[in-house]
Structures are given as structure tokens and as C-alpha cells.
């Protein structure tokens, strides 16, 4: 059994309430931080911990914090990115729903470290009921003197608010999130300036993912050095993985970043293997944006080593044979899955979610969706497959924000690793009409 730092008490009845959360050791990090540490010391602990952004980019959190500008007389803000919308990802929802105080405590400790008197939790609108759970937790914290003026007699004042979005994947991009928080359309800003210099209302702002902020609590409790001992290399600490698809035990798992992909999929402690006794076909390891891998490359790197659940091991081989840990949205597909159809759902998603600001993404995602629809419908040509490849290459790296890359990578990797499936859809259109699963395509072809 791996060590759990965030979800140790997720099944304790009443853990969503302040009293039970405190019985289980909650708010000791806040007391320790306010009574015995300076803000700079907390930033140092986070740097030492090696904690990396858990939203998907994996940028070192301590470094991000150290970029925060501190001009005199200008307010600074901490904004929590709870706009969890990456297909395959539902860990933040689970954490906030089960243990809301873990996030609230992290918000207060982090705000103290950053010198932010106000913080906002921007949560996707569809999670309205989770926003209410957070608001109830915040009300409890105010009541107990953990928020508001002079917290725990430290002289530190802090207010924390929840803001709901209204359905836009792009608002998970930090500058789009800030625009949305200011009451505008979620169009990403051109960087620089980065939010650390000019963020919310033009003031220095740190934007961190829910899981990242919650991880600050155990780091303060156990020290950064101890946290850094968990995991392998630069993948320190624990990570929440959202496991879904054709597995026996879907759900949110907290793992130490030192287990193999094979163990995670097949051991009973985690996913419990592929359901209905089927074969494992493909894996999306870190949310829809990351390259899809065929089973063999998901389990073993091109160099023949066992693939580990770490940032580095999953990325081993670059995009040619590797992928990314991303947000930890772990989607497992069995032998019957049509990779082309799955890709179509991803591409339709990115077309729907493109903000429309940059033409390569606005137009390109739509073209890719149409081409995939055409291929799925049996009217595609081999030239269409090449055209898909060409379009994705003309989106990647040519947009203001990473949504363009995120739309291009799944297309590139699906064609790279599963080109034959695309060609089958083109070459045998009569047999794939309305085909839902790839195995039927194979059976029909043999008949």
C-alpha cells in the first residue's frame, strides 16, 4: 500500500466537516505556518519538495511562486484553478467533494506564503454542487477564525471566495481563467506579461491547480525534504490519478510516483485489470491532450524498460514513442475500441472548446473533425489521412495558448501508432458503416 498524503481520510464519515477534518489532523499545517514559519520559509519548503504543477504542465510550483512580483502597495492574489475540464480527469472534483478543507487549508497557507490577502477558487460551472460544498467549508472556516481578520492571532488577514464558471474548457488555461474571473469571455492573453507580474486586475497573481495547493499542506506538515523522498527523481510526492475506461475499478487513486504502469492497470489495489477479460489495447495516460500509446509502448519504453507512473518515464522517447503524465487523466481502452472513433470524440471536443481567437486552432480543429467524420462515415480517402496529419502539424505551436497543441497531439499520435486503422476505414467503407467497435470491423473483413 502506497503512502497517502491527500486522500488518507477520504472515506472517513463527516470528513467534509471542519470538526472531523481537525480530528484527523487538519489545520495543523496552518498553525505551524502562521506560528512558526515566515512566508519565505514556506516558499523554500515548497521549492525543496520538488512539487510540480498538478494541473497538467508539471511546472515546479516553488519556482512559479518565486516569480511573483511584489511591488509596494499593490495587492497580490492567489487563484485556484478548479476548472477541471480535461477529458478523463476528475480528481479535483473528488478531492473537493470529499475533503473540501484540504483545499481551503492549502489556500490559506499558500496565500500566507505569497502575501495574498484575497484568494479565489475558480471552479467549472458544471461543478455547482461542489462549489456549494466548498462554500459551506469556507463558512465553517470563517466561523472558527481560520479565515477573516487576524487568523489564529497571527496578524494575517485573508478572505477566500468561490467563483463558478459557465462551461468552457479554455478557462483551465490560466490567463483565460483570469479573463473569466474578471467577467469576460475566456480568451487567453498573450504572454508576457505572465500572471506573476500582471494577473488578476493587472496585479501579481499565482494560479495553481487544486491538487497542487492541497499538496502544500502535507509539505508544510512533513517538510519539503521528507516530501521529496517520495517518488523517483524529479517526480516527487504523490499524484492523484483519475482512472477510467475499460477497467474493472475506475476511480481516483493516490499513488506514490514510483509504481509501474503495468501495476497500476493490472493490480487489484488500483484499476484491477481490463474488464470482461478483454485485452488491453491503448492508453491515454494524462488526459485527452497527451499522445495516445498502444499497449506495448504504454507498458514498456522503446528502450525496453518498464514504463513508470512518473513525469519522466511516461515522457521517455519523446512524442515518437512516449507520452506525458499530464493531469493524470488515465483512460484505458480494450481490444474492441475504435481508435478512429475515440479520436473523433476528442477532436469534436477541441473544436467545440476552441475559443476562436487564433485561426489555426479555430479553423483547424473544425477541419480535423470534419475529416474524421468523413473517414468514419466511409467516405474518406488515403489523402484525407495525410491531410489530417498535415493540419495537425499546422496547428501545433502556432497559437497563443496550448489548446492548439492539445488538439494536435492526439491526432498526430493516433495516426503515428494506429495508421492501419485509419486505412481500414478508408479501404473497406462498406464493411464499417455504423461500426462502433474495431473488432467488428475485423470480423466483417474476414467474412
Amino acid at each position: 500500500m502506497g503512502k497517502k498524503l491527500l486522500l488518507e481520510h477520504d472515506n472517513v464519515p463527516g470528513i467534509n466537516t471542519l470538526s472531523v477534518y481537525r480530528q484527523k489532523g487538519g489545520y495543523t499545517a496552518l498553525e505551524k505556518a502562521l506560528k512558526t514559519m515566515t512566508p519565505e520559509a514556506i516558499v523554500e519548503e515548497v521549492k525543496t519538495s520538488g512539487l510540480r504543477g498538478r494541473g497538467g504542465a508539471g511546472f515546479p510550483t516553488g519556482m512559479k511562486w518565486s516569480f511573483l512580483a511584489k511591488p509596494e502597495g499593490v495587492p497580490r492574489y492567489l487563484v485556484c484553478n478548479a476548472d477541471e475540464s480535461e477529458p478523463g480527469t476528475f480528481k479535483d472534483r473528488y478531492l473537493m467533494e470529499r475533503i473540501p478543507h484540504a483545499l481551503i487549508e492549502g489556500m490559506i497557507v499558500s496565500s500566507f506564503a505569497l502575501g495574498a490577502k484575497t484568494s479565489y477558487i475558480y471552479i467549472r460551472g458544471e461543478y455547482f454542487y461542489v462549489a456549494r460544498i466548498l462554500e459551506a467549508a469556507i463558512a465553517e472556516a470563517y466561523e472558527a477564525g481560520l479565515l477573516g481578520k487576524n487568523i489564529l492571532n497571527s496578524g494575517f488577514d485573508h478572505d477566500c471566495y468561490v467563483q463558478v464558471g459557465a462551461g468552457a474548457y479554455i478557462c483551465g488555461e490560466e490567463t483565460a481563467l483570469l479573463e473569466s474571473l474578471e467577467g469576460k469571455r475566456g480568451n487567453p492573453r498573450i504572454k508576457p506579461p505572465f500572471p506573476a507580474v500582471a494577473g488578476l486586475y493587472g496585479c501579481p497573481t499565482v494560479v495553481n491547480n487544486v491538487e497542487t495547493i492541497a499538496a502544500v499542506v502535507p509539505i508544510v506538515n512533513m517538510t519539503g525534504a521528507e516530501y521529496a523522498k517520495i517518488g523517483i527523481g524529479r517526480s516527487t510526492g504523490t499524484k492523484l490519478i483519475s482512472a477510467s475506461g475499460h477497467i474493472n475499478k475506475p476511480g481516483v487513486y493516490e499513488i506514490e510516483m514510483n509504481i509501474t504502469v503495468e501495476d497500476f492497470i493490472f493490480s487489484d489495489e488500483y484499476c484491477g485489470g481490463i474488464r470482461n477479460g478483454k485485452q488491453f489495447k491503448a492508453l491515454v495516460a494524462g488526459g485527452s491532450s497527451v499522445p495516445i500509446l498502444p499497449a506495448a509502448l504504454a507498458l514498456t519504453t522503446a528502450a525496453g524498460e518498464k514504463r513508470m507512473m512518473t513525469y519522466e518515464s511516461l515522457a521517455d522517447g519523446g512524442f515518437a514513442t512516449g507520452t506525458m503524465l499530464g493531469s493524470g487523466g488515465f483512460i484505458v481502452m480494450d481490444e474492441d475500441t475504435s481508435i478512429v472513433k475515440n479520436l473523433y470524440t476528442f477532436t469534436r471536443f477541441y473544436h467545440h472548446e476552441s475559443c476562436g481567437q487564433c485561426s489555426p486552432c479555430r479553423e483547424g480543429t473544425g477541419w480535423m473533425e470534419k475529416l474524421l467524420h468523413k473517414i468514419l462515415d466511409g467516405h474518406g480517402t488515403l489523402a484525407d489521412v495525410d491531410l489530417l496529419w498535415e493540419i495537425q502539424g499546422k496547428i501545433e505551436g502556432k497559437t497563443i495558448c496550448p489548446l492548439g497543441d492539445a488538439a494536435a497531439w492526439p491526432v498526430a499520435s493516433a495516426i503515428r501508432h494506429f495508421r492501419k486503422e485509419f486505412e481500414d476505414h478508408v479501404n473497406r467503407p462498406s464493411s464499417i458503416k455504423d461500426v462502433k467497435h474495431y473488432y467488428r470491423l475485423n470480423n466483417l473483413a474476414e467474412a
Partner: protein, 178 residues
């Protein structure tokens, strides 16, 4: 000139509480939360009059509310049924049968994706990932998530919603036990 709409006293108090969360002069930050309130109060959709009610309260230009309302997928710019069935169709939900759920609802209610039943009770809307991949397939109606769906569960849900007959909004939990 369209009709003027006004929030009830209760909603107005909530709106003022929300506006107070933001610094002086930054009241526009409350736009999205207030549009949610307006949608819940004025029949589940944002008519120009409903949006104008919000922009007046925030002292912003009307177009500022329109451009935001048209950007975000949770805002309905046309009238909808009392129960908007938002069925997730992205990857994990698709892998586990979301298409069957959509087809079943279409058949049962005699409507297509995006349409509303003639009695104004249901609107069917396919949506992108709602963060419920581990409990796929799923649908959201108002604030509530209905997960691990089967066709039988959908039947029960639709019957109970029809029986209950009330409008479901994002701002209120009205979960039906399945």
C-alpha cells in the same frame, strides 16, 4: 424595447452578496455568477431582457453581458425545457455507451439532440466532458450528476422527473434517487 425584468428581493440580496466579493470598481467579475442567477430565475434561459437586468445591476454595457453569455456553453440563449438532459459524449463516456443513452432518450422522447419535447418538459443536449469519467456514462440535469447510467436508470429518471414536474436549475440540488 423589450419588457423589463427584475430579480426577486431574495435573488437581489444574493446578487449583492456576490458583488461584494470583488474589489471596488471590479463588480464586473460578478457577471457570470449573476447570469447563472438570472437563468435560474427567468425560466432557465437568458432572454435579452434577462441579460439586461444583470448588466443594469452591474452598471456595465448590455453588450458586455451578451458577449459573455454567448461564449459559455451553460447559458441557454433560447427557451429550454424544464429538465435539460445534458448527456456527456466525450471519450470515456463514449467508450462505455453514451451513444446508446442518447439514442434511447431520442427514441423515448421523440426528439433529437438539441430539441425540446412539445410539452416543454425535456430538452436533450449532448455536452463535452463533465468530469465524471470514472462513473461513465452519465448525464447532468440542473446541478445534479446522474452516473453509471443504464437504459433502465434513464427510464426511471425520466418518469420521476415528469412526475415531479419542476424546473431544474444549476443553482439548486434536486437530486432524484435512482
Amino acid at each position: 424595447m423589450s419588457e423589463r425584468l427584475q430579480f426577486s428581493d431574495e435573488t437581489l440580496a444574493t446578487a449583492k452578496r456576490i458583488i461584494a466579493r470583488y474589489p471596488e470598481g471590479k463588480q464586473k467579475s460578478a457577471l457570470i455568477p449573476l447570469l447563472h442567477l438570472a437563468q435560474a430565475e427567468f425560466d432557465g434561459w437568458l432572454s435579452p431582457a434577462a441579460m439586461d437586468c444583470v448588466s443594469e445591476l452591474l452598471q456595465i454595457q448590455r453588450i458586455e453581458a451578451y458577449e459573455v453569455a454567448s461564449f459559455y456553453s451553460m447559458f441557454n440563449l433560447k427557451p429550454v425545457g424544464k429538465c435539460v438532459l445534458e448527456v456527456c459524449r466525450t471519450s470515456s463516456c463514449w467508450l462505455l455507451g453514451a451513444e446508446d443513452i442518447v439514442r434511447h432518450i431520442e427514441k423515448k422522447l421523440h426528439i433529437k439532440d438539441g430539441e425540446t419535447t412539445s410539452d416543454g418538459m425535456f430538452t436533450l443536449k449532448t455536452v463535452e466532458c463533465l468530469g465524471s469519467c470514472g462513473t461513465a456514462p452519465m448525464l447532468q440535469c440542473g446541478a445534479d450528476f446522474y452516473e453509471n447510467l443504464t437504459l433502465e436508470k434513464v427510464d426511471t429518471l425520466l418518469e420521476k422527473m415528469k412526475e415531479d414536474g419542476s424546473r431544474r436549475t444549476y443553482t439548486r440540488d434536486q437530486m432524484i434517487k435512482l
